[in-house]
């Protein structure tokens, strides 16, 4: 069943464009059925998984390296998989209405399916390498989806930025996984989870930790890699809701949760993860309030929420882990609802600027209801799920092993910022009395409001019945992360305690911040002009410098002058080989072997030499071409004399074709004159003599040593029985070493395309 869950999305990705092409009317209704049925399918195993029996599937992939394609579904994976398919259902419901008959709808849906499958693969992966492959696939899908409006430069830039930042993190993650595999001796997740003590005691623990954290932090947009996430808002809104708030950016959180039994519970872990999470939480919360664009507000508050999750997983206590899992679920619900509401607003009015929006509840009542509920959950008001999450968060903060006071203060402050952001995102556009006379908002169809309302209602439902959700979904996930600790039971009402006081303080501060925001921003006049933060500017400088360096390097080494290329190639060869020659163990023969060739061999050698000298001294280009041809044919003759007819035949053909090519271009070349002065010719002589001398020495050295001929005898013996051919050269080419040949013909094809492109380009420029 697991394999079907992962594969079906990829198949759907291939089928979606065709479906939209042939059944445009029905495709929008068929597509949401897949995530819905996957969701139902996953629900059927909740009982088994919450009882502590994970589902396992395994196929051998590269057994020699311990790599298998294995899938592993436990409580943590199940929570994520349910989120991916559940939010996926809403997004697939919403997308056709949002894009309203755009011709590219099929392509968008296809990529969304591919993304969903990749997400399921990552969260269900049971092997480090399998996980990495799916992890990178999510990044590629994200690249394609952010850059969906590829005709806009902004979208392309944002897509590339997201790809590079998460891609660099992905490479670090791969290195980290390989280190983990080497330290623990297994690539299988199920075995690795039990070997945490071995990993933590290993001297390479710290590098492995840093690398895995780099992967998690880039993916989950943690400071200082956070800037790619707000830029990624260039994507269509359903994509932002799905990838960049509810699911993909949570993969870093998944990684932290997944590997905390292996890597967690050390001083380095707590400090690194808690500090990063705290800084991200504050940065995101403050920046969110500086924006007027609905999507930017939501994106920065997502950054803040991701920081909160990171901080909680860094603390690592049972209370903190429970809080993290609850907050993860709650945040996915309210944030996807708010994002989809922002999309509906954009669709209905044509703008997302909150200074121009207001009183939309009259026009789109259902969207307003959904967004309002979601915002109440975000602000943490009872009886919504957000309240439970916040209570747990404060409880975890107060029990923090690391500076409880500081952690609590930072949390309260950034939650107040979240309250203010919730007011901006839901109250201002829908319920405030802003005048919207210049916009003409229209009603939105069911496809746009139902996906807003559903998750918001679900948030209410969880708030009313927290116990069941806790038993079935949260507790199994928490037990996976913290095998020892007993998870906290979820309840809406915890009684009058310090935590409740903190909640009330948060709400009050949030209201004050929201009230002061407008006047403060006007005074500072920064709203709307925050474009480049410090980290993003560094990123920009780094990449422009890198490109500058690359073009400098290319121009220096490959300036377009053939003689320079030759000199570089020859120089490097002579230096490297000469160095080995001087320091190596090889010896020159004491006496030169006596040449035993007959007169015909001497004659052939003479022809080659004469051709070379002729090419050097002649004053006619045609003569030079002919002389070089003579050298080539001479070499082919040598091949024949020493019994290599295959080589000789090929050499003859090559020479013939080269001469044909020369003839074709000969009359176009400028006059054949002496352009070099004495000094350059002397330099050329040195270059030619050095490579010639080196090759001579090498040949002498090679022939003086008895060749260990295991390989050639093996080929000779095996050619007919194993390769069914008597021509050993050809059997090697097409059978024994066919992979090399495949590589070579690919190079040939690429080179041909290069030549073709260059000639055609020149043609166009001239014509």
């Amino acid at each position: 069943m697991l394999i079907a869950i992962v594969i079906s999305g990829f198949l759907a990705a291939l089928a979606a464009p065709a479906l939209y092409h042939f059944l445009p009317r029905w495709a929008g209704r068929i597509c949401p059925l897949l995530p819905l049925s996957l969701f139902a399918c996953l629900l059927t195993v909740v009982g088994q998984v919450s009882a502590g029996t994970p589902l396992i599937f395994s196929l051998p992939w590269i057994p020699s390296l311990g790599i298998s394609f294995s899938l592993y579904l436990d409580g943590l994976g199940l929570l994520f998989a349910l989120l991916v398919t559940g939010i996926g259902f809403l997004v697939f419901l919403y997308t056709p209405a949002y894009m309203s008959n755009d011709v590219r709808l099929g392509r968008l849906t296809g990529w969304l399916f591919a993304f969903m499958a990749a997400m399921l693969g990552t969260t269900l992966a049971g092997n480090l390498i399998t996980m990495f492959v799916f992890w990178e696939l999510t990044g590629i899908c994200s690249y394609m989806l952010i850059g969906f409006d590829h005709e806009q430069e902004e979208a392309r830039r944002a897509a590339l930025q997201a790809l590079l930042v998460t891609g660099i993190g992905g490479l670090a993650l791969l290195a980290g996984f390989i280190l983990l595999g080497n330290i623990s001796g297994t690539m299988e997740l199920a075995e690795l989870l039990g070997r945490g003590d071995i990993v933590r005691a290993h001297p390479l623990y710290l590098p492995a930790l840093m690398l895995v954290l780099a992967g998690a932090f880039t993916k989950s947009a943690q400071f200082p890699f956070h800037f790619w996430l707000p830029s990624a808002m260039a994507a269509p809104t359903p994509v932002s809701a799905y990838l960049h708030s509810a699911t993909m950016v949570k993969l870093g959180i998944y990684l932290l949760a997944r590997f905390s039994p292996v890597l967690g519970d050390t001083e380095a872990w707590v400090y690194l993860v808690v500090m990063t999470g705290g800084i991200t939480m504050l940065t995101g919360g403050v920046t969110a309030l500086l924006h007027n664009d609905l999507k930017q507000i939501l994106a920065w508050s997502t950054v803040s929420a991701l920081g909160t999750l990171t901080l909680l997983l860094g603390l690592g206590t049972p209370a903190a882990t429970t809080a993290a899992m609850v907050f993860l679920l709650v945040h996915a619900l309210y944030k996807s609802s708010l994002f989809l509401a922002a999309g509906a607003v954009d669709h209905g009015t044509g703008t997302r600027d909150i200074t121009r929006l207001g009183d939309l509840a009259r026009v789109m009542p259902w969207v307003a209801a959904g967004a309002g509920l979601a915002a109440l959950s975000m602000a943490g008001l009872p009886p919504l799920a957000g309240f439970i999450a916040k209570e747990l968060l404060y409880e975890a903060n107060l029990q923090s092993p690391l500076a409880p006071l500081a952690v609590t203060v930072v949390s309260v402050f950034s939650n107040s910022l979240a309250v203010a952001a919730a007011i901006l995102a839901a109250y201002t556009p829908f319920f405030s009395k802003n005048s919207v006379h210049d916009l003409h908002p229209h009603h939105v169809e069911i496809g746009l409001w139902l996906p807003v309302l559903l998750p918001a209602l679900l948030g209410l439902l969880i708030g009313l019945f927290p116990g069941q959700v806790g038993t079935w979904l949260v507790t199994p996930a928490v037990t996976v992360i913290r095998a020892g600790g007993s998870p906290v039971q979820l309840a809406l009402w915890h009684g009058f305690n310090p935590v409740l006081l903190l909640s009330m303080a948060t709400l009050g501060t949030g209201l004050v911040i929201a009230a002061l925001r407008g006047p403060l921003l006007r005074k500072l006049s920064v709203a709307g002009n925050i474009r480049m933060g410090g980290a993003e500017r560094l990123y920009g400088i780094f990449f422009s410098r890198l490109q500058g360096f690359a073009s400098w390097l290319t121009l220096t080494i490959q300036g377009g002058r053939l003689r320079n290329y030759l000199m570089i190639v020859v120089g490097v060869t002579v230096c490297l080989v000469g160095f080995t020659f001087l320091t190596g163990s090889g010896e020159l023969p004491a006496s030169l072997p006596r040449p035993d060739g007959g007169i015909h061999e001497w004659l052939t050698a003479g022809v080659i030499l004469a051709g070379a000298v002729m090419a050097m001294v002649t004053r006619s280009r045609l003569a030079a071409v002919a002389a070089i041809g003579t050298v080539g044919y001479g070499v082919a003759l040598i091949y024949i004399l020493f019994g290599a007819p295959d080589l000789a035949m090929t050499q003859f053909c090559i020479e013939t074709l080269s001469i044909i090519l020369f003839v074709l271009v000969l009359h176009r070349l400028p006059q054949f004159t002496l352009l070099s002065n004495r000094a350059t010719r002397a330099r050329d002589l040195v270059v030619a003599l050095s490579i010639g001398g080196l090759m001579t020495l090498l040949v002498l050295m090679t022939v003086s040593q008895p060749l260990s001929s295991h390989i050639s005898t093996w080929f000779l013996e095996q050619s007919f029985p194993a390769g069914h051919g008597r021509n050993v050269v050809n059997v090697i080419l097409v059978d024994f070493r066919a992979l090399d040949t495949l590589g070579e013909i690919t190079v040939l094809a690429v080179a041909a395309l290069g030549v073709y492109g260059l000639l055609k380009k020149r043609h166009k420029e001239e014509g």
């Binding site: 007819p645 295959d646 035949m649 090929t650 053909c653 090559i654 013939t656 074709l657 044909i660 090519l661 003839v663 074709l664 271009v665 176009r668 390769g723 069914h724 051919g725 008597r726 021509n727 050269v729 050809n730 059997v731 080419l733 097409v734 059978d735 066919a738 992979l739 040949t741 495949l742 013909i745 690919t746 040939l748 094809a749 080179a751 041909a752 395309l753 030549v755 073709y756 000639l759 055609k760 020149r762 043609h763």
Partner: protein, 135 residues
């Protein structure tokens, strides 16, 4: 430049050269020859024809874009390498028929692979030659 001698000779030579190139390809497994040299001979045949009658006529004679030849060749080689997947063997494992055949001895997937090499090499050479001629 039109040369009567060249154009008459090539008219006779061309079918011979092409047949020879295929012959080289087929016998390559047991005697000197093979896809690489066969492809070069085929390219030479078309190149000579184009020298005599112009690149336009050469293209017409070839009927198919050299670029497509390169692509088809790469695909052929790749497919021949993937045939063993059907029986669950690794990439590029040679498959052989049991029946002996004239000239080539046994038929097998390496021959298909060699045909791919033949197509890539001849396509690539002609791509460059035609492009240069039309400069």
């Amino acid at each position: 430049m039109q040369s009567l001698i060249l154009s008459t000779t090539i008219r006779l030579l061309m079918p011979l050269l092409l047949m020879f190139s295929v012959f080289l390809l087929l016998r390559g497994h047991n005697e000197p020859g093979g896809g690489f040299v066969g492809g070069l001979v085929a390219a030479a045949a078309f190149a000579l024809y184009s020298l005599a009658h112009g690149a336009e006529a050469g293209r017409k004679m070839l009927r198919i874009e050299p670029r497509l030849l390169v692509a088809a060749g790469l695909m052929t080689a790749l497919v021949s390498g993937m045939l063993p997947f059907i029986t669950g063997q690794p990439f590029l494992t040679a498959l052989w028929s049991k029946l002996p055949m004239p000239i080539i001895g046994h038929a097998g997937s390496p021959l298909l692979f060699d045909a791919g090499v033949y197509l890539v090499v001849s396509g690539m050479s002609l791509l460059i030659i035609f492009s240069l001629m039309e400069e």
